[in-house]
């Protein structure tokens, strides 16, 4: 009913009819229309809106940096990455890419997911400024923290602790920082200069480093006494052993870890293994950078006369390598045998000559975990000639660095029974990938800060901003259909074992990849109080993204879990955009005759709790933004 006083007395006459309608409540996907939101609803909606960011362990703002790349601002894209995942040039090459499985392009069936990882690398390739330390969040606190282990999680924790204002010292066993990034990953996959530059940006923020310093239990006790907190992030350096009948305990099989370390440190002589047959056992997640990479490395050592075979007891689908990587290994003449279980080894004259494998078969019944079970088939043994056996079947941590009586908190892996000792990275949860280690380092730093300062000093929230661009994000629908150019690689004959194999996209190729992304940070939502159910948006919708909905089912946080769709106008309570299906084309907004559809930008941000409270005051209630109306 109108409130226009100039319509009296007609308005009074109509009001006296007492027409009042009861309507279904309007759903809202964020707790606030614009401003900052930190309710559980906000985070749930955000996770639904941007699945790639949700899939990323470090919650990298993927669409935000991809849009920056598309707009030509590679430095901004790099900064977003540096803020969120610390080692963006590294991760742009070696990340395990959980984001690409989450990518919305993946389920629209147009040429697969956006190549997010390569875009990350592109941002780092084309940035104009070298990596620089990020500004600190807080003034110096005077607290001192020791970080043991200079791997991805240790370095990340150190950077974050420094930004919290603490003094940090890193103790590194090796002669260089970087941990598995420099020891485990082969140099032809990840040039060391990239790691060095990004490690330098961290150290330059004012972090003390003690190299070649191995910390044992007594020294650990000393550190605990000396520092306010100690973070242990020494990773999983103990390679799992393979016990095979006929294989002596040492000398004949090397662990993938050791092999890669020697290879990367350049202690192996070229040609020393010429013509030999190498068998690598592994292929699981632990071996993602060992099994696959040492296969490549080994091939360089054995030359064309030699032979490198990878033996995996499960199927290719369970290998940690992606299908395109497996294909690339085929190009490089690395044989991959799946469903092969090591059975025994044969040693002649003190020298390994062959390993016998037994064939595995899949069990018909697939357990709930989804990972098919295998069992070996008797009497299928076959011997493969082998001069060097590399075993990359997993790594475990050794807990003897912890002082006696100190053990991990079973509820929170970052904490221990000692209030000053914290754990992070692989040492916390077992051997995983770099991106998980980065996030774990961040989490550990926050825990340490909270414990040192007695309160949580930073808060994550979703920033929501109204845009006024008529539903145009800068993309058009033709961008969806672009064919994603593949990553240029070094020709086979130029792969000398040190030069980087993946060359990186040129700018045009990068642009194609960046514009393929739907830029899901844009949020389209219908204001049900304005909607007149004309269904025009449903008609222009490119996918099954807008529907007539008779009921919405909410969870305890008012988040819409499911919607009951209908085809009948009379049953339609709402016209509802399913942001899971929405590909952000903006057509609905442009066609909407009543301006009921709005486009807002969302971004996961972090700031100090004081700043958050300040921002929260500026919030506008839902629907308060005026619309152009006569």
């Amino acid at each position: 009913m109108s409130d226009d006083k100039s319509l009296s007395p007609f308005l009074e006459a109509v009001k006296s009819l007492n027409i009042d309608y009861e309507m279904a409540p309007i759903d809202q996907e964020y707790s606030t229309f614009t401003g900052v939101g930190a309710e559980p609803l906000d985070f749930k909606s955000y996770a639904k809106d941007i699945p790639c960011q949700e899939a990323c362990p470090a919650k990298t703002r993927v669409p935000h940096y991809i849009q920056a790349i598309a707009e030509g601002d590679h430095d901004k894209a790099y900064l977003i990455n540096q803020e969120d995942n610390v080692f963006s040039a590294v991760l742009g090459r070696v990340c395990s890419r959980p984001c690409e499985d989450g990518c919305r392009h993946n389920w629209t069936d147009i040429n697969g997911p956006v190549h997010i990882c390569h875009l990350k690398r592109g941002a780092s390739d084309y940035k104009k400024n070298p990596p620089a330390p990020l500004p600190a969040w807080f003034e110096k606190t005077g607290k001192r923290v020791a970080v043991i282990g200079g791997g991805p999680s240790g370095l990340t924790a150190a950077r974050e602790l420094r930004r919290y204002g603490h003094d940090v010292t890193i103790f590194e066993r090796d002669k260089v920082l970087g941990g598995m990034m420099v020891q485990g990953i082969p140099i032809f996959r990840l040039p060391r200069t990239e790691v060095e530059a990004e490690v330098k940006a961290i150290i330059d923020s004012g972090i003390d480093v003690k190299l070649n310093t191995s910390v044992d239990a007594p020294m650990m006790q000393q550190l605990i006494d000396e520092y306010d907190s100690v973070l242990v992030s020494v990773g999983t350096v103990h390679a799992s052993n393979l016990k095979l009948p006929g294989l002596p305990d040492d000398g004949h099989a090397v662990s993938g870890l050791k092999f890669m370390y020697d290879y990367n440190m350049g202690t192996m002589e070229d040609g020393s293994m010429k013509g030999q047959s190498v068998i690598i056992i592994g292929g699981g997640f632990t071996a993602v950078d060992c099994a696959r990479s040492c296969a490549r490395a080994a091939l360089r050592l054995v030359g064309e006369e030699g032979k490198v075979t990878m033996m995996y007891r499960r199927t290719a689908g369970q290998m940690a390598a992606k299908y395109d990587e497996i294909e690339e290994m085929g190009v490089e003449n690395i044989e991959i045998e799946t469903l092969m279980n090591p059975h025994s080894a044969r040693v002649e004259n003190g020298k390994l000559v062959g390993v016998t494998f037994q064939r595995n078969t899949l069990e018909d019944e697939i357990p709930q975990s989804g990972k098919p079970r295998v069992h070996s088939i008797p009497e299928t043994e076959e011997e493969f000639p082998c001069d060097l056996l590399i075993v990359a079947i997993g790594q475990t941590r050794t807990l003897d660095i912890l002082p006696e009586g100190v053990h991990q908190n079973p509820d929170d892996g970052h904490l221990t029974s000692h209030e000053k000792v914290f754990m992070a990275g692989d040492f916390n949860y077992g051997s995983l990938d770099v991106i998980t280690a980065v996030q774990d380092g961040k989490d550990a730093a926050e825990k340490i800060d909270t414990s040192l300062m007695g309160r949580q000093r930073r808060k994550q929230h979703i920033a929501i901003e109204m845009t006024n661009v008529n539903g145009e994000t800068g993309r058009v629908r033709d961008h969806d259909l672009q064919y994603p150019v593949s990553m240029p690689v070094l020709p086979l004959n130029q792969r000398d074992g040190t030069a980087e194999v993946e060359l990186g996209h040129d700018l045009d190729g990068l642009q194609v990849h960046a514009t393929r992304c739907y830029w899901c940070q844009n949020k389209f939502e219908i204001d049900h109080d304005k909607c007149i159910h004309c269904n025009w948006c449903i008609e222009v919708a490119p996918r099954d993204c807008i529907n007539k909905v008779s009921r919405l089912f909410y969870d305890e946080d008012d988040f819409v879990e499911t919607a009951l769709e209908t085809d009948l106008n009379d049953e339609a309570t709402y016209i509802w955009i399913d942001s899971k299906e929405c590909i952000r084309c903006g057509k609905c907004l442009r066609i909407c005759p009543t301006s009921a559809i709005t486009m807002r930008k969302t971004e996961l941000c972090g700031c100090s709790t004081e700043e958050f409270e300040e921002k929260e005051k500026e919030n506008q209630p839902y629907g308060a933004v005026p619309h152009f109306k006569y």
């Binding site: 009913m1 109108s2 226009d4 006083k5 100039s6 319509l7 009296s8 007395p9 007609f10 308005l11 006459a13 109509v14 006296s16 009819l17 027409i19 309608y21 009861e22 309507m23 279904a24 598309a70 707009e71 008529n470 145009e472 800068g474 993309r475 058009v476 629908r477 033709d478 961008h479 672009q482 045009d508 642009q511 194609v512 514009t515 049900h528 007149i532 159910h533 004309c534 269904n535 025009w536 008779s550 009921r551 106008n569 009379d570 049953e571 339609a572 309570t573 709402y574 442009r590 066609i591 005759p593 009543t594 301006s595 152009f628 109306k629 006569y630």
Partner: protein, 527 residues
């Protein structure tokens, strides 16, 4: 094709248009259906897709709404042969056939062409049917007979191949005086005839030109571009305005591309400069186009001249009207009307913007006889332009865009407005009902207007209307509320009862609303 970010210059529809505007309807017939981009381009030929799958709507272009009796019979034949015998009069003086099947389109167009009728530029991004006030030729208040200018404008602009691809539709209206019977303020161009005294004391007729009006969700009242354009230059000025629209309309976003948005966003001065530039390029002398206030020295006209029953025109002949309920006729009825005009009238039929039919040129002594004949056909002849002359759009009966079934509301309102207590105000209020925000039935410029929507309930939703009151041809009505369809009759009754109680002298509902709320209401645009 690989796209860069900044390549976004036009909407998807513009790409389709760039691929050509030609359709072979025989080919469509062989295929059996319109495909892909044809669904857009077919609009240039006056053909739309209907709400009912497999059916089409065709709109016959009739400049000024005047057809000869022969043409009327042709329309009847086409309606009978291809359109299930039904035809509708539109609010812009056209005739629409529904229920056309794709294979019949080519033959239908050929049949129309036999009597010089055409659907060409009935829809699409072109100059649409040029409208003139219904009594253009003989109205006693007219400054000039605008019908020839309307027809000439229509011909010149339709034949201009450089105006085939405008950003959006383009609507022109001619009015014979300032009373606004032709609704000049809600068209892209409204040409209002004026009579002025020149410095030498002679009387000169010409047009005041207002541009940038429009209905739709964002409605605008037109702004004055020129206060006086000599009558012989109006066609050139109209063409220049079309060129302005062609070059400056927003081709990125179709919802923002009408001329009204150019005028609103860039200002009338910008538009005037562009128009003058175009005129100079086409070697038209612009020295006598006035922008200062021009006094109209013609006879005073009433607020609603069309209310007069069976008006006698300047030629001494009377006009007889048939009220067509919901604007829908059968082919038999239009044939009978054609026969009537051949017997009594000027052998022509006139379609009006309130979806009625007029027969001009009837000898005053024959008026009663013609009225009787019309009553026999089944149409009323009284109440024209009154409260019972409700104008609904076609609604969900045919239109794919409509939200509500406007004709149901028509049926619900008819008993209310037919109550005897409203006899004394039968001529004081107009009611329009439109089924969606596009406002085919312009609901904002009448005393009571309804716009279709749906209101959600606890579960599900029902048809409803946004209701506005107090609109006039040059002022938009104001929203009084949103009501479910079933509540609309009692709301209308409450409003009319209030009007009965509050009204003074002979004022209309809109004037009454205006007077009572004058302290807060905006002033009307000077006419």
């Amino acid at each position: 094709m690989q796209w860069n970010l900044d390549k976004r210059v036009v909407s998807e529809e513009e790409h389709t248009k760039d691929h050509g505007l030609v359709i072979d309807y025989d080919e469509v017939g062989r295929k059996g259906a319109l495909g892909g981009g044809e669904k857009l381009i077919t609009k240039w030929y006056g053909i739309y897709q209907s709400r009912h799958p497999g059916n089409h709507m065709a709109r016959v272009v009739i400049p000024g709404g005047v057809v000869s009796s022969v043409q009327a019979r042709r329309i009847a034949q086409v309606g009978e042969d291809y359109g299930q015998g039904k035809l509708c009069i539109t609010t812009r003086q056209c005739i629409q056939f529904h229920w056309l099947k794709a294979p019949a389109l080519a033959d239908m167009l050929r049949d129309l062409a036999k009597d010089n009728l055409s659907c060409f530029h009935g829809c699409g991004d072109v100059t649409r049917n040029v409208v003139a006030c219904p009594l253009a030729e003989t109205c006693q208040y007219r400054r000039i007979d605008v019908l020839p200018y309307a027809k000439q404008t229509s011909r010149v602009l339709t034949e201009s191949r450089d105006l085939d691809n405008l950003p959006r539709k383009f609507k022109i209206n001619f009015s014979g005086c300032g009373a606004g019977c032709g609704q000049p303020f809600i068209n892209c161009i409204g040409a209002i005839a004026v009579l002025r005294k020149t410095d030498s004391g002679d009387e000169e007729t010409g047009f005041k030109v207002v541009i940038g009006g429009g209905m739709g969700w964002e409605a605008f009242i037109g702004q004055e571009l020129f206060s006086f354009v000599p009558a012989d230059k109006i066609v050139a000025v109209n063409r220049a305005i079309a060129l302005l629209f062609r070059d400056h309309g927003d081709r990125r976003d179709r919802t923002q591309s009408r001329l009204k948005f150019i005028v609103h966003k860039k200002g009338i001065d910008f538009c005037r400069k562009v128009v003058l530039d175009f005129l100079e390029k086409e070697n038209v002398d612009t020295s006598d186009l006035e922008t200062v206030l021009v006094d109209d020295v013609g006879d005073a006209y009433p607020d609603r001249p069309l209310l007069e029953p069976n008006p006698v025109g300047t030629d001494g002949k009377a006009t007889v009207r048939a009220m067509i309920p919901k604007g829908e006729m059968t082919h038999l009825q239009i044939r009978q009307l054609a026969a009537l005009t051949e017997k009594y009238g000027d052998k022509r039929l006139q379609f009006t913007q309130r979806q009625n039919v007029e027969i001009h040129g009837v000898k005053p002594e024959k008026v009663a006889e013609v009225n009787e004949e019309i009553a026999k056909i089944g149409f009323e002849t009284e109440g024209f332009f009154g409260i019972r002359d409700i104008v609904p759009c076609v609604g969900t009966t045919y239109c794919p865009k409509a939200v509500t079934e406007t004709r149901v509301l028509y049926d619900l309102l008819m008993p209310v407005v037919s109550k005897t207590k409203y006899n004394e105000i039968w001529d004081k209020a107009l009611i329009n009902i439109t089924g969606c925000p596009n406002s085919c039935s312009p609901y904002r410029i009448v005393d009571i207007g309804f716009r279709g929507m749906r209101i959600r309930e606890k579960l599900g939703s029902v048809e409803a209307y946004e209701m506005r009151i107090g609109g006039e041809h040059n002022r938009l009505g104001k929203v009084i509320g949103e009501f479910k369809r079933e509540d609309c009759p009692r709301v209308v009754e409450a409003i009319l009862d209030t009007f009965l109680k509050e009204r003074k002298d002979g004022e209309t509902l809109a004037q009454c609303v205006q007077r009572l709320g004058v302290a807060k209401a905006e002033q009307p645009v000077a006419v």
